[in-house]
């Protein structure tokens, strides 16, 4: 199974993601620079966190015009699992692959802290190993992480089961405490917190198992693990 890690100018969580995919979960991962094409035989795509283009204009908006995004869109249509983490989530939203928008946190601060996520949808390729309402201790690290969608979009998200994660508490002013959403088909998932920083016990002071299930879900979806 081949996983593509897309790298933009200013990505800075790509190596952490690559390390987790290869060293922790023993997957065949490859970096793909944003102005190149994705190979046709890829099985999953991850857009890691960082500050693509220095967050200029708006976090994620410039990277959303990178040539590789056309390939990501094609793969999304084919049903291939795609995960966007933090800036990757912002890029997926700005490219129209996911609904809503990410605004500056209510505090106006860059927030770097541990949060609790609640699993709201356990049918996606990244959440199929969870039970509904499972709790995931996981760090956030963002300045523009407040998820916003208008009332009609929020109703639709709820109706189509597109809310994947909520924060356990009010963290940054996100609409309905939303921390992650998926597309209507469920194969494209975006989340603000960083699972790649939480799957190893050495750097997770609380519990690394729940975050590991995000990657194990992908392994199960791909038929690598039962």
């Amino acid at each position: 199974m081949k996983v593509g890690v897309v790298v933009f100018p200013g990505s800075n969580c790509d190596r952490d993601m690559f390390h987790v995919l290869t060293d922790v979960f023993h997957l065949d991962a490859q970096y793909y620079w944003h102005d190149k094409e994705l190979p046709k035989n890829i099985d999953a795509v991850i857009l890691p966190g960082g500050f693509s283009y220095g967050d200029r204009l708006r976090a994620g908006v410039i990277a959303a015009h990178s040539p590789i995004i056309k390939d990501v869109q094609k793969m999304a249509e084919k049903g291939i699992p795609i995960l966007g983490v933090c800036n990757g989530f912002q890029i997926l939203v700005e490219s129209g692959l996911l609904p809503g928008v990410l605004l500056k946190n209510d505090s106006l601060n860059f927030m770097c802290e541990w949060t609790d996520l609640i699993v709201e949808n356990n049918t996606t390729p990244f959440t199929n190993q969870f039970k509904l309402n499972d709790k995931i201790p996981i760090p956030i690290a963002n300045g523009e992480g407040k998820y916003y969608a208008d009332d009609d979009t929020l109703k639709k998200l709820k109706k189509k089961n597109q809310i994947v994660f909520r924060y356990g508490d009010v963290v940054n002013g996100s609409s309905n405490r939303i921390a992650g959403v998926c597309n209507e088909d469920g194969n494209v998932v975006g989340m603000m917190p960083h699972p790649e920083r939480a799957v190893e016990s050495e750097i997770n002071p609380i519990d690394n198992k729940p975050s590991s299930l995000i990657f194990e879900s992908l392994l199960v979806k791909m038929g690598i693990k039962n």
Partner: protein, 86 residues
């Protein structure tokens, strides 16, 4: 063809919170003696210089660019376009 300066102001739509503007109002302006100020909204301005045949074309061209490349996110933001002779 003439040269025009086109100013695009991007601001939050009504109903979308603007914590930066509120902080500037409450913690800076109203802290002093300027009690007549009731609202401050932050915005971002982009200044284009463009060559087009007239002001109207310059305005519509910049509007088209802003829509096409998502200079603003229409779910939360709106733009105002002002055109000046360069």
């Amino acid at each position: 063809m003439a040269s025009f300066n086109v100013h695009v102001t991007i601001e939050n739509k009504p109903g979308i919170s603007d914590p930066e503007g509120e902080t500037i109002l409450n913690d800076l302006v109203l802290r002093d003696i300027h009690k007549t100020v009731s609202k401050i909204k932050t915005a971002k301005m982009l200044k284009f210089t463009i060559k087009e045949k007239d002001k109207k074309t310059a305005q519509s061209k910049v509007q088209k660019i802003c829509d096409e490349v998502r200079i603003y996110n229409p779910m939360v933001s709106k733009i105002t376009i002002d055109v000046f002779d360069a």
